[in-house]
Every structure is written in structure tokens, then in C-alpha cells.
């Protein structure tokens, strides 16, 4: 049963196929088909993961998917499918406005499947070295995606993204080597130690604690840079605001979480071997730092996409802090938050993309008031998405945030949870304050939009609909997967 292999193969094949296909519509269709296949496969993977061995392995333990990776695979495929659906109309309007050359569009359609293929490899690889290699692949493929618009600012953003990214990955490699060395020590026998994560978890007790601690430090700084945790987040707003909207949706929606997933693998390993809350406190500190740092930037932001990027920084910080609080409830809440955020953020970026193409600017002041009058449907989706991102009840983010908060209170860490709540409130006020500057009111100058205001709206409505459905009704298998994934992070099998 080669579900895992086919999940990996589908996007790569789609990417290579796009190399050969001439027309833009065909490439868009292949992308959508590729991701639809991956979505189907990851849905099929969900029940498989819930059976007692709680893990699906293939080609003798090279690929391994437990509940956590199945959940991540699902998110990756959902977000990639969403952005593929949206990309079709998006690039049609960009081509019409000569903002991008057909060569670049082909580049987009080739690189996006490779990008998500890399992400699938990260979540499905059992070998930590291969995981690093997959992350490097995602980094490289997304760099060129960020630099599709050949403007000065996008090149600058791409350069910063690649330099900081590669440096982070170098440090992460150093950390991985350290972990591998820790595994070597006690095996005096001749055989090479197995670098698989499952194997390392099995022998976690006998790893050299000092080396594991040092390894986690390097991995935290390395993968933390890719995940955009607080002091290392500086590339995030530039990259996410300069990339085309479908790419920034994937970057913000799920690529940050994939890097966080890699960090979590090491966090689980370190907790298992050290036993002390060393890695949890670090995650909590960095999570809280990201949230507290994001709030002021959201409040005084002038660029719409940078505002959404900082909001992603805040949400990733919340997830990281949730896992740092390390009680079953907060971890469950954090994972649920990952899912809901992965559905909300793309909608916001798609709406921002529409506004960008209509007003040809992202400066909030120049967009001015009255977006609701010009693009009623996009404004509605941006409003609802903003409400969801701010954590208002009808949408699931409210429940996941409340679960994290009640878990924090239940496990007695009242002070940290209070700071967390403060940061959530601050960023809520920021997002609301900024969105109400542009959404209501009367437009300054009547926009003559060439494209129909319904562009890209079906994708947004589809994703918002799924978010609303899954906020109000969590089907049993999905809930069970998230619970099992929470148990995995908590240290059980």
C-alpha cells in the first residue's frame, strides 16, 4: 500500500508535467488535479493512522506517517489546492496587466508543486537528515516563487529570504549532526546507527543528554528561523508581502507550520531524552516573544499584506506557545489552531491579492475607505476572514484559542497564559483597527475595475465555508487524529 509514496509522487509528477505543457490553463488544471489527488490520499491516510500501531511506514521505515504527519499532510494539501484554484484567475489578471511574463507564470506552475512536494517529504520522512534535505528543497523552490515579480522589492525580499533561510538551515544541519552524534555514542558496535526518528525515539533514554541539549539549541535557532519565531522572523513580512498571493498563502498558511513541525520532532525527542522541561520553556518563551512582537507591528502597519504576515507571525507564536505550555489540552488546542489558521489565512491573502490587483497598491492609506462598495464579495470575505483571524466565535479559532487558554489555566501556568491572552487581545485590536480603515465608508475615487468583482471569490467562499463547517462540526475521525497527534507531541507512542 504505497499511500505515502503516491502522496509524494503526485505533486512532483504534476510539476514536471507542467514543464512540458504549453498553455497556462493546462498547467493550472494539472496543478489542481495534482493537489486534488494529494488531498484524496491524505484523507485516505487519516483512518489508516488511527489503527493501533498509530503509524504507517513504507519502504522499510524510510517514510513514516503518524497522526501528526497525517494532520500536517492534510493541511498542506488543503492549502495547496486552495492556492492552485485561486492562482488560475490571479495570473490571468496579472498577465492582462503585464505585471508578470508568461515565462515567470510557467516557473510558478512548475515550482509550486515542487514546493508542496518538498513539504510533503518533510512531514513523511522518517530520517532526520532527509527531513533537513526536504526543508532545504522547499526553501529553494519558494525563493524563486517569491522573486516572480521582478521588482526591486521582491528581489530584495527573495535575497533576504534565501540568505536567512540557508543560514538557518545550516544551523539546523549542525543540530541534526549533533543529534546523530548523540545517537552514535552508546552504540559501540560496528553497525551505523539508524537515523530514523522512530528508532531514535525508541532509544531516547540512553542518548547523551548534554549533546541533545546543545543540538536542540541549534535546531531551535535553525528551524525557528524557517518557522519565523520572534527574533529570527525578520524575513517573514518581506517575503510574504512581496510574493504573489497564492504563494504567500502557502508560505503563511502552511510552510511556517511545516518548519514548526520539524522543530516539534526534535522537541519530542529532547523531552523524551532529557525529561526536564528545557525545550518546553524555550518554545513557550519564543512563542510568547513572537506574539508580543507581532502586536505593535500590526497596530501601526501601513501595508495590507505585511499586516497579514505579522498576523501569521502572531498565530504561529500562539501555536508554539500552546505546545510550550505542554498540557494535553493546550497541545490539542494548538494543533486545532493550526488547522483553522491554515483555512483562514489563505482567504485573507486571496482577498489582499484581489485588492492589490484592483488598486495596484497595498498601502492602506492609498487604498482608502470604501472597499466594500467597489469589491463587495471580496470585502465580505476579507471581513469574515479578518473576524476569524481575530478570533471571533462563529469561527473555530475562538474555540482553539479558548482551549489553549483553559489548558494553560488548568495546568497552573497563569502568568504565561495571561501574557498570551494579552497578546491575542492586542493583535485583535490591531487587525480590527486596520481593516475598518479600508472596508467600510465611501470609496475615494470610483475604481474602474476591468475584471469582474467575482474573480477568485468562489475559492474564498469555499475555504470560508469549510472553515465554518469544521468550526461548528468536528467529525469523529478528524477529532481523533488531532487527539492522537496531541498524544504524540505529549510523548506517548
Amino acid at each position: 500500500m504505497s499511500v505515502l509514496v503516491s502522496i509524494l509522487v503526485a505533486p512532483i509528477v504534476a510539476g514536471l508535467l507542467c514543464l512540458l505543457l504549453p498553455s497556462r490553463r493546462a498547467m493550472a488544471l494539472t496543478n489542481v488535479l495534482g493537489f486534488a489527488v494529494t488531498l484524496g490520499l491524505s484523507l485516505q491516510l487519516l483512518p489508516a493512522v488511527l489503527q493501533p500501531p498509530y503509524a504507517v511506514t513504507e519502504c522499510d521505515e524510510f517514510f513514516r506517517a503518524d497522526a501528526l504527519s497525517a494532520w500536517m499532510a492534510l493541511l498542506i494539501s488543503v492549502v495547496s489546492l486552495g492556492s492552485a484554484l485561486y492562482a488560475g484567475r490571479y495570473f490571468r489578471r496579472d498577465l492582462a496587466a503585464q505585471a508578470v511574463t508568461p515565462g515567470r507564470v510557467k516557473e510558478f506552475y512548475v515550482l509550486t508543486p515542487l514546493f508542496s512536494g518538498g513539504m510533503f517529504l518533510v512531514v513523511l520522512a522518517n530520517n532526520l537528515g532527509v527531513m533537513w534535505f526536504a526543508l532545504e528543497a522547499t526553501a529553494l523552490s519558494s525563493v524563486l516563487l517569491v522573486a516572480i515579480y521582478n521588482r526591486k522589492t521582491s528581489l530584495e525580499a527573495a535575497w533576504k529570504y534565501v540568505i536567512l533561510g540557508s543560514l538557518g538551515l545550516a544551523l539546523a544541519l549542525f543540530g541534526t549532526v549533533f543529534t546523530y552524534a548523540a545517537a552514535i555514542d552508546q552504540r559501540a558496535a560496528t553497525g551505523l546507527p539508524n537515523f530514523n526518528w522512530s528508532h531514535l525515539m525508541a532509544i531516547a533514554g540512553q542518548l547523551d543528554t548534554r549533546m541533545i541539549k546543545l543540538a536542540f539549541v541549534f535546531v531551535l535557532v535553525g528551524y525557528g528561523t524557517k518557522a519565523g519565531l520572534a527574533p529570527m522572523h525578520t524575513w517573514l513580512p518581506d517575503a510574504h508581502s512581496e510574493a504573489p498571493s497564492p504563494t504567500s498563502a502557502m508560505l503563511s498558511g502552511v510552510s511556517l507550520k511545516v518548519a514548526l513541525y520539524a522543530l516539534l520532532r526534535f522537541h519530542i525527542l529532547t523531552t523524551a531524552s532529557l525529561g526536564t522541561p528545557f525545550s518546553q520553556t524555550l518554545l513557550l518563551v519564543f512563542g510568547l516573544a513572537s506574539m508580543c512582537l507581532a502586536a505593535p507591528f500590526i497596530l501601526v502597519q501601513t501595508n495590507l499584506k505585511r499586516l497579514l504576515a505579522y498576523s501569521s507571525l502572531e498565530h504561529v507564536g500562539l501555536i508554539c506557545a500552546g505546545i510550550g505550555l505542554n498540557s494535553p489540552m493546550t497541545i490539542f488546542g494548538a494543533l486545532l489552531h493550526m488547522g483553522y489558521h491554515a483555512l483562514t489565512k489563505p482567504v485573507l491573502f486571496f482577498a489582499a491579492g484581489n485588492i492589490h490587483q484592483t488598486w495596484h497598491t497595498l498601502q492602506l492609506r492609498r487604498i482608502g475607505t470604501g472597499v466594500a462598495k467597489v469589491l463587495p464579495w471580496t470585502a465580505l470575505c476579507l471581513g469574515l476572514g479578518g473576524a476569524a483571524a481575530a478570533g471571533l466565535p462563529p469561527f473555530g479559532l475562538f474555540f482553539s484559542e479558548l482551549t489553549v487558554l483553559s489548558g494553560g489555566f488548568a495546568s497552573g501556568q497563569t502568568a504565561a497564559t495571561a501574557i498570551l491572552l494579552g497578546a491575542i487581545l492586542a493583535s485583535f485590536c490591531g487587525i480590527l483597527y486596520q481593516l475598518t480603515r479600508i472596508l467600510p465608508g465611501t470609496p475615494k475615487v470610483a475604481r474602474t475595475t476591468d475584471a469582474s468583482p467575482l474573480d477568485g471569490v468562489p475559492t474564498m467562499v469555499l475555504m470560508l465555508g469549510t472553515l465554518l463547517v469544521f468550526s461548528l462540526w468536528l467529525p469523529a475521525p478528524l477529532l481523533e487524529v488531532v487527539r492522537q497527534a496531541a498524544r504524540v507531541i505529549g510523548g506517548l507512542p
Binding site: G168, L299, L392, F409, A418, L421, P440, L479
Partner: protein, 696 residues
């Protein structure tokens, strides 16, 4: 009827009401294209649901209080941790009664009022938001566990925000909406902390932190294992959270900004009902969950209540925008309600349950009265706004001749809010006075001085409220019209008048027959204080209202009214005896020999409030500016421009500096992302070095 029957009916009626609200909301949204249909569907369903709500509440209150029989699950809970349990106990039923009575009157009023929006704004959206707000508010009152309460609370805030910024063309509306939503969300943050503190305690008590630990029954059963430190922290957070929504003084800034800009039926709903959710929350938490309160809780709430009452009315006096004036009055009346609750808490502390129930009844009865006469006044103001297209009182005048029925209803509302005898405002303030008066003897410490002093401040508030409404009614309705629109104002449409009439009848009924209505409070005090209705509350076989003391003072508004009617013939007899041959001549008003009085010579709202502005100038810091343009000499001015405004202390001293500081710090933080890649690399390098030192 056996209690089981009444319970069943009240829950089914409540379920039906909630469904009709939902259907109404969705229906009016669906019929958004055809305005007439949307109006009918939206507000028609509002009316039907309101009637069912009243029925459910009355059945729950009057039927025997079979505890717990009236809770049901709104929806089989699909999400693992939220149990959508709705519970209709006496306290919830009382507040559902308030929201339903108001919903009935407002829905009828809205049929006519919304016609003004045809073609201009989408009536379907207004209907949907209106029904959603009512649904959310009813759920807030009847929520059975903390999570569902917070969900309903937040949806209420969201729909209220959409209603406040319904006419979002003007910038003023948008800013008011944002201020409202931010402050209410910060309040919700405090509520979340409060509820989670209780959840922490109930979780420890139950042993596991399952969703069951959120339910209000477990909070109620907390009792001893709620440590004093956590209890005080929870109290502070609840006071802040509910205080923002209720509009207590330091947190009131959003109220005078948000209410005037909302459409009038919405601002009546906001002022009448949404503010009461804060009061409901405080009552539920203080009397139900946190057990016997320490002394300083009661003192804090009493002080905050007194300060809110006095400052609320003082700022109201200075307003010449009709709806801002009414919004400030909401703050004043919330202050009076809090006086009642604060006194009740202090009596609970000193162990006087009878007095506590009297004070609680005073507070809750004033909540009901305020909801009704404030809604009546807002509807009146809405009708005036609808007719004259302006909220500025200086541009009104003489409307009593063109809108006689609205004027009469507004006058009845004004008499009620100024706590003048025959109507309901007087009765609830009388009960508050009685509880404050008897508070003096309950403790020996100097704290007992607070009661008479807050009584004096309540008297000051009442008198200032009377002055304010003489100004509001006199300047708006009496004398000559000061502007063109006021001259051509037309009477409100029949449905608007019916809505206002309903509320006036309610005011009169609650004023004249308080003893009939007070029986409703029996199960309520039984549930909250374990104390049946105080003995000497109703005397003289139901005619007279006592103050729970054998020898205590009594009042009977019905008696006063009837004796007044008996005395009515005295002026008639004098007329028959002396003045039968006199004629009545209509002549011009005395104009000191000038050629006729012009509307500009009339007294203005600013003029009317000038003496009080001079007396309280330390608080208002009035600023006036006169510019005179003249050709030859300054004594012969060609044009005069006069501008005067007062300084809203809290906005200029507290909120604006805070906002400026926050924005300054945030802009200062932006230097972190200054664009140079070297700086970014240094951040990572320093983090790495710090972590290495930590990990060694």
C-alpha cells in the same frame, strides 16, 4: 397548572422564540432584494419571537420554581468542548422578560422607522442584524456554561458592532464602532480570565478538566474550595469585563460615542438591553458563584455606582445632541442599579439577608424600569430624528405642535426617568432610597456613613436628571421651531406610535402596580439569596409598597394618583364660583416692546445648562470662543461666531494619552525591522549566542 406543565411550556416557548429569531434573521437576509418583504419578515418574526419570549419568561417566573427542570441543549454539541446548554432559572427568566418586552415594542416600532431606509440602506441586513442581536442577547441570558456564554457574548458584540456602524458613510460612525468593539473585546478578555479562574477551581474540585468543569452548576457548587486570593482576582476581572459592557464610569467612553450613531431602534436595543447583559453578568457572578462577599466588594460597587450616577448625569446635562444625552443617562441609571447591587452585597457581608433581598430587588426593578423608559426615550428621539433629519437640539423646537403624540410619549418617558412620583422610575428609586436608609444601622464601622452619603448623591442625581429632561423636552418640543426642518416635521407613523405607546403603558403599569409585579421576584431572591420575598414588602392588601420593615415608610403611587383625581374638582369649583364670566384671549408673548419674538431669541440648550456648567466648571473646564467681524469699529460687529465646548475628562485625560503612548511605542518598535540584512543576521547571531550560554 402543575409545575411540570409550566416548565415544559416555558422551555418549548423559549426554544420556539430562539428558532423564530433565527428564521427571522435568515429570512430577512434572504429577502434582501425586496425591502418591503424583508421588513415584514425581519421585524414580524421579531414580534412573534418577543411574544413567545415574554410567555416563556412569565411562565418560568410565575410557575413553581422547580429547579433545574428548565435546562435543555440547544443543539447536540458537535464540537468536543462546547455544550450548548440553555438554562432558564428565575434570574435568566427575569432578564429574558426584559429583552422580550423590549423586542416586542422595538419590532413594532421598527416597521415604521425602517421605511426611512428604503432605497438608502439595505433593510434586509438591518433586520438580520437586529434578530441576530436579540438571539445572541437571549442566549447570553440563558447560557448554561461559561464557554457558551462567552460565544453568545462575543456574537452579541459582533452584531452590535455591525449595527452601530450600520450607516458607515460618516467617519464618526466608523470610529465609534471601532472604539466600541475594541473596548468590548478587551472586556471579553477580562471575562475570559475571570471564567478561567473559576474553571481552574472547579476543575480542581471535580478532579478532571473536562468540558463539564465549565458548567454554571459546578461554579455554583464551588463554595469553599475557591481560595480567597483567586476569588478576589476573579471579582476584579469580572467587574472590569462586565463594567465595560455596562458602561461604568472609567470604562464608559464608548457608550456616548456608539449609541447615537446607531439607527434608533438599534440604539434603543443597545441601551435598553445590551447594557443589561453587564448587570446580568455581575448579578449572576456575585450572587450565584462567588459566595458570601468580603466587605470591600460591596463598597467598591457602591462607590463606582455613585460616581457613575453623578458623572453620568452631569455630562448628560452638557449635551445638546439628543441621543448622546440619552446615552449618558444610561450611564447614570446603571450607576443607580449598581448602588442597589452594592448595597445588597454589603448587607450579605454583614448578614442581613432580608435587607439584601430588598436592595437586590431595588437594583433589578430599576434595571427593568430603565430598560423600558430608556427604550421609550430613544424611540422618541428616533421619531424626532426621523422627522427633522438632525440630532442637534439647538435646531429643534415647537415639535409638540407638529408631533403631539410623540411629544406626549417623550414627556411620559422624561417623567419616568426623572423619578417623579406616579411612574416607575420613582418606585425603583424609592426602593433604593429605602435600602440605603436602612443600611445605616447594619454596621458599626464608619462604612455606614457611605449609605446616607450615596443617598444624598442619588438625590442630587435625581434632581439633575429632572433638570436635564426639562431641558431636553423643553428645548426639543416646546416654544417655536428653530430651524426649517423642525418647522416641517411630520408626526411619526402609526406603528412607531404603537411601539412607543406600548412602552408608555408598561411604564404606567410598573409605576402604579409595583406590588403586583414584585411577586415575580419571589423565586429570584429564593434562588440567589435563599431568602423568600421580604415580609412587609406589600402591605394594605396589595395597594401599598412597604420597605420590609414593620414600622417602615410606605408609598402607594396608585393611592397618590387617586387622591389627586379626587382633588381635581377643587380648581373646577373655583372656576365655577369665580371665573365663569371670564374669556380667554390668545395674544403675543411679552416681548418687552420689540416687534415680535423670533426663534433666535428663545432659550437654547447651551444657555439652559449654563448655570450648572459654571457651578461644576472644575469638572467640565468649559472653553468658549467668540469671534466678531466688524467693518469700522468693534462695537458694530457684522457677524458673530460663538463656539463653546466642555472637556470630557476621561477621554482627554485617560484614553487619548494612553492611545498616543501605545502608537508611539509601536512606531518606535518599527525600527527593529529597518531593512538592513546585517541587522537581521545580528539578531539571529545574538539569539544563538544567548541560547548557547543558556544551554551550557
Amino acid at each position: 397548572m402543575s409545575s411540570a406543565l409550566t416548565d415544559l411550556q416555558s422551555t418549548t416557548l423559549l426554544q420556539f422564540a430562539l428558532c423564530v429569531y433565527g428564521v427571522g434573521g435568515v429570512g430577512s437576509l434572504a429577502a434582501i432584494r425586496r425591502e418591503k418583504l424583508a421588513n415584514l419578515v425581519g421585524f414580524g418574526s421579531g414580534t412573534v419571537a418577543a411574544i413567545c419570549g415574554i410567555g416563556a419568561a412569565l411562565l418560568a417566573l410565575i410557575g413553581e420554581p422547580a429547579d433545574g427542570a428548565r435546562s435543555f441543549d440547544l443543539w447536540p454539541s458537535l464540537i468536543p468542548f462546547v455544550r450548548l446548554s440553555v438554562k432558564l432559572d428565575p434570574l435568566s427568566a427575569f432578564f429574558v422578560l426584559i429583552v422580550s418586552v423590549l423586542a416586542l415594542a422595538l419590532s413594532i416600532y421598527s416597521f415604521g422607522y425602517v421605511r426611512g431606509f428604503y432605497g438608502r440602506k439595505s433593510v434586509g441586513a438591518l433586520g438580520a442584524l437586529y434578530n441576530a442581536l436579540l438571539l445572541a442577547t437571549t442566549l447570553v441570558f440563558t447560557a448554561g456554561n461559561a464557554l457558551f456564554f462567552l460565544v453568545a457574548w462575543e456574537i452579541m458584540a459582533l452584531t452590535a458592532y455591525c449595527l452601530v456602524s450600520f450607516e458607515h458613510e460618516q467617519a464618526e460612525t466608523r470610529n465609534a464602532g471601532v472604539l466600541f468593539f475594541i473596548m468590548s473585546h478587551v472586556g471579553t478578555g477580562c471575562l475570559i480570565v475571570g471564567f478561567l479562574l473559576l474553571f481552574q477551581a472547579s476543575g480542581q474540585a471535580l478532579g478532571d478538566f473536562s468540558p463539564e468543569a465549565y458548567s454554571f452548576e459546578n461554579f455554583r457548587a464551588l463554595g469553599s474550595n475557591l481560595s480567597p486570593g483567586r476569588r478576589d482576582a476573579a471579582f476584579v476581572f469580572f467587574l472590569l469585563g462586565f463594567g465595560v459592557k455596562a458602561g461604568i464610569v472609567p470604562l464608559h467612553v464608548w457608550l456616548p460615542a456608539a449609541h447615537p450613531v446607531a439607527p434608533s431602534n438599534a440604539s434603543a436595543l443597545l441601551s435598553g438591553v445590551m447594557i443589561k447583559t453587564g448587570i446580568y453578568g455581575l448579578t449572576r457572578v456575585l450572587f450565584d458563584f462567588l459566595g458570601t462577599p468580603p466587605n470591600w466588594w460591596g463598597i467598591t460597587i457602591l462607590t463606582v455606582g455613585t460616581v457613575s450616577a453623578v458623572l453620568g448625569v452631569l455630562y448628560a446635562l452638557m449635551e445638546h445632541d439628543l441621543k448622546r444625552l440619552l446615552a449618558y443617562h444610561s450611564i447614570e441609571n446603571i450607576g443607580i442599579i449598581l448602588m442597589g447591587l452594592g448595597a445588597a452585597l454589603m448587607f450579605l457581608h454583614t448578614g442581613h439577608p432580608v435587607l439584601a433581598s430588598l436592595a437586590l430587588i431595588a437594583g433589578l426593578y430599576h434595571t427593568l424600569n430603565h430598560a423600558i423608559f430608556k427604550a421609550l426615550l430613544f424611540l422618541g428621539a428616533g421619531a424626532v430624528l426621523h422627522a427633522t433629519r438632525t440630532r442637534n437640539m439647538e435646531a429643534m423646537g415647537g415639535l409638540i405642535k407638529r408631533m403631539p403624540k410623540t411629544a406626549f410619549f417623550f414627556l411620559m418617558g422624561a417623567v419616568a426617568i426623572s423619578a417623579l412620583p406616579p411612574l416607575n422610575g420613582f418606585v425603583s428609586e424609592w426602593l433604593t432610597y429605602q435600602s440605603l436608609l436602612q443600611g445605616f444601622g447594619t454596621t458599626s464601622s464608619l462604612v455606614k456613613l457611605m449609605f446616607p452619603l450615596s443617598g444624598a448623591m442619588l438625590a442630587l442625581t435625581g434632581a439633575l436628571a429632572a433638570a436635564c429632561f426639562v431641558k431636553a423636552f423643553g428645548i426639543t418640543f416646546l416654544a417655536q421651531p428653530r430651524s426649517e426642518q423642525a418647522a416641517q416635521a411630520h408626526e411619526a407613523s402609526p406603528t412607531m406610535l404603537l411601539g412607543m405607546g406600548l412602552l408608555t403603558v408598561a411604564c404606567v403599569f410598573l409605576g402604579l402596580f409595583p406590588t403586583v409585579f414584585l411577586t415575580v421576584f419571589g423565586p429570584l431572591t429564593q434562588q440567589l439569596l435563599g431568602q423568600p420575598l421580604p415580609g412587609y414588602l406589600t402591605r394594605g392588601n396589595g395597594w401599598v409598597l412597604g420597605n420590609a420593615q414593620e414600622l417602615g415608610g410606605t408609598v402607594s403611587t396608585l393611592g397618590i394618583l387617586l387622591t389627586g383625581l379626587c382633588l381635581a374638582p377643587v380648581p373646577l369649583v373655583l372656576w365655577l364660583f369665580f371665573g365663569r364670566r371670564t374669556q380667554v384671549r390668545i395674544g403675543p408673548t411679552w416681548d418687552c416692546g420689540l416687534r415680535g419674538l423670533t426663534p433666535q431669541m428663545e432659550y437654547t440648550a447651551t444657555g439652559f445648562s449654563k448655570p450648572l456648567r459654571m457651578i461644576f466648571k472644575a469638572l467640565f473646564r468649559p472653553h468658549r470662543e467668540v469671534q466678531r467681524e466688524y467693518d469700522y469699529s468693534p462695537y458694530f460687529a457684522t457677524t458673530l461666531r460663538f463656539e463653546s465646548h466642555i472637556e470630557e475628562a476621561f477621554v482627554t485625560r485617560l484614553y487619548r494619552p494612553f492611545k498616543r503612548a501605545v502608537l508611539l511605542i509601536s512606531r518606535r518598535m518599527r525600527v527593529l525591522q529597518a531593512g538592513s540584512i546585517q541587522a537581521y543576521l545580528i539578531y539571529i547571531f545574538v539569539t544563538l549566542l544567548l541560547l548557547l550560554l543558556v544551554a551550557l
